[in-house]
């Protein structure tokens, strides 16, 4: 069992300020109050930037730190690019949906036939400091997938805000080592503080449940059957009609991991690039000669859902959706993953 600490707000500010001397630190510094909801974005911490607690997930997916949208992954045949240790990095602002979604990225890049060494190095050199949600966005639906709005595993440290500070739960050896480097800031946690955390968590779950109940969302245990049995339903065609093939749902998704390898000549060096790809793109599955097994948008939309709710349940035992709702917010065609699944359920019942 890892330990649980407490840190007072003033001490936390000092701790936060100190970290950037030894680490690259990213935190939810930027707020965009333009919309109805305030949006938070990751930013590199520099100067005397103060910590902002994000009540819910950030706009960007966590994957962007580990597999950026465009990355040089090899140089050949006169290699100048060697796999190097990535700088030690700390990321604040991570929520439980991000951690759950990130299990998919870890499965893809750390397991299977080969380990992606560059991903592993980044993962090893990154400390994830997650936090409880204290509010939710309109599109948030983690609970529908039985995912709690507070982290339970997968973090190095987790912050639970109380009135005058944070409970700091350690989730890994990396987290314990970090606290060991700054021992003066942390106090032993009190039972009353843990009880207060419990109440806050319970309250948020109640609020989120009340928000989700009228939506009548499909449950985790039937979703695989829905996409399998609903393969030939007109749901896919119906929801495809407003798809503009922008790939936004793929890129913003913390579980979508598809990429393309491309080659480029940079001066005299040959380079191999890895770019995010999107299964909603027309050429995603096209082969040489022009044959394309996913010719229509209908097929591609369905492919996205069977990947999330059939493939990953078969191969990893979990659906590749963490209920973060990023794809719902980003879609210019207003395609809502919750509504697609509900439509399958409705049509299969009747």
């Amino acid at each position: 069992m890892f330990k649980i600490y407490y840190i007072e707000t003033a001490q936390f500010s000092l701790f936060f300020q100190t970290l950037k001397d030894n680490y690259r630190v990213f935190a939810p510094l930027v707020k965009d109050p333009a919309g109805q909801e305030v949006d938070y974005f990751y930013q590199s911490v520099c100067g005397d930037a103060t910590f902002i607690f994000n009540p819910y997930r950030l706009v960007e997916p966590l994957k962007s730190f580990f597999t950026p949208a465009l990355e040089k992954v090899a140089e050949y045949f006169n290699p100048g690019l060697a796999l190097t240790e990535t700088p030690k990095t700390i990321i604040f602002g991570v929520k439980n949906c991000d951690l759950i979604g990130h299990k998919i990225q870890d499965f893809v890049f750390l397991e299977g036939v080969e380990v992606d060494t560059s991903y592993r190095l980044k993962r090893e050199n990154t400390i994830l400091i997650s936090s409880d949600c204290t509010d939710f966005k309109a599109v948030c639906h983690c609970l529908a997938w039985e995912i709690q709005p507070y982290p339970e595993a997968g973090f190095d440290l987790n912050l639970s805000p109380l009135n005058d500070g944070y409970i700091v739960e350690v989730g890994s050896n990396k987290g314990e080592e970090l606290i060991g480097k700054y021992p003066g800031y942390f106090l032993p946690v009190k039972e009353t503080q843990l009880a207060a955390r419990q109440i806050k968590r319970g309250n948020l779950i109640d609020r989120l449940r009340r928000h989700l109940l009228p939506q009548d969302l499909v449950s985790k245990d039937i979703v695989q059957k829905l996409v399998r049995d609903g393969y030939n339903l007109d749901t896919w065609k119906q929801f495809m009609l407003t798809c503009v093939e922008c790939g936004g749902c793929n890129f913003i998704c913390d579980t979508c991991h598809c990429f393309l390898l491309a080659d480029k000549k940079e001066e005299k060096q040959n380079t191999k690039l890895r770019l995010w790809d999107a299964c909603l793109y027309a050429n995603y599955a096209r082969v040489a000669g022009g044959a394309n097994p996913l010719k229509s948008r209908t097929q591609r939309l369905r492919f996205r859902y069977t990947k999330k709710f059939d493939f990953f349940i078969d191969n990893l035992g979990m659906p590749a959706c963490c209920g973060c709702g990023r794809c719902i917010e980003v879609c210019p065609g207003k395609i809502d993953i919750r509504e697609v699944l509900k439509d399958l359920a409705k049509k299969l019942q009747s």
Binding site: V73, A74, Y76, F77, P79, L83, V108, F109, G112, V113, E114, V115, D116, T117, S118, L121, Y231, H257, C258, F259, L260, L261, A262, D263, K264, K265, N270, T271, K272, R274, D277, C279, Y284, A285, R286, V287, A288, G289, G290, A291, P293, L294, K295, Q299, F303, T306, K307, D310, F311, D314, N315
Partner: protein, 271 residues
């Protein structure tokens, strides 16, 4: 530290013209390169692009690698314009090849279409090297016209080998072609095989694989005894990039050779 995206340099040593659209490229890798028959590689044109191919050469040869390539897309068209001496990159080998051990003691029916004979040539070399372990090898090969037949010099030599029965057919005949005319499916009647201990291996364009599979199922082959080479967009070859998914499988990692039993309940496998 191993970089899974790093290609191995290889020199293009020779080019053999097979047909107007198909060439066999002979590469000499900078280090010995081993593969099992049916596994594939990613071939990089430096600074230009990468594409997956199954080697057509003998897996017992480690210092050379042959790849038979049809001009079909961007990378293959550029490949066809190359001259000897140029450097290319090789990643792999990837995927699971033909399970030769499971073919021991059996009649092996090999059905190829067009450039689909390329991986089968590598398979034939592997079978010939240990022919005593197998009961017999029957090759049925279909090309569009006689001009589209690959390995024209080798086929007669293979046909003379012991335990080997080869029949070539062309979709469209011409006066210079003395052989069989008709789709490859028409050559599958009255095959001299014992269905209780036989396997069928099919490689060709998806439409050909579909109709051949239906035909041999009709003949009595069991789904688990039919081995198909699936063609998909395979970018990474490592089961990571997502493109080549068929149902719960990735073609690159779980294939590219699949039994029909593994695929038959998956939608749209022939698309």
């Amino acid at each position: 530290m191993k970089n899974i995206y790093q290609p191995l340099e290889a020199t293009l040593e020779d080019i053999i013209v097979e047909t107007s659209a198909i060439k066999t490229f002979v590469f000499r890798p900078k280090a010995n390169f081993e593969f099992k028959t049916g596994q594939f590689i990613e071939l990089t044109l430096p600074g230009i692009g990468e594409a997956p191919f199954t080697p057509s050469s003998d897996p017992n040869v480690k210092d050379r690698l042959e790849v038979t390539i049809m001009k079909a897309g961007r990378v293959t068209s550029l490949l066809h314009g190359l001259n000897k001496g140029i450097s290319v990159g090789i990643r792999g080998p990837y995927g699971r090849g033909y399970p030769l051990d499971e073919f021991a003691g059996k009649d092996i029916l090999i059905i190829g279409g067009g450039v689909g004979l390329a991986p089968l040539r590598s398979l034939l070399f592997s079978l010939f090297a240990r022919i005593d372990r197998f009961n017999k090898v029957i090759l049925r090969y279909g090309a569009r016209t006689s001009a589209d037949i690959v390995y024209k010099d080798s086929l007669p030599e293979w046909a003379r080998r012991k335990k080997t029965d080869i029949l070539i057919t062309v979709d469209v005949g011409d006066p210079s072609w003395p052989g069989n005319v008709g789709l490859v499916t028409t050559t599958l009647k009255d095959l001299p095989i014992d269905l209780n201990k036989a396997v069928a291996i099919v490689c060709g364009p998806p439409i050909m694989m579909k109709f051949v599979t239906l035909k041999i199922l009709d003949l009595g082959f069991k789904p688990q005894d039919i081995y198909l080479s699936m063609e998909k967009n395979m970018s990474c070859g490592l089961g990571k990039c997502g493109h080549c998914r068929i149902g719960k499988y990735y073609t690159c990692k779980d294939g590219p050779v699949f039994t029909y039993a593994a695929l038959k309940d998956i939608h749209d496998i022939w698309d």
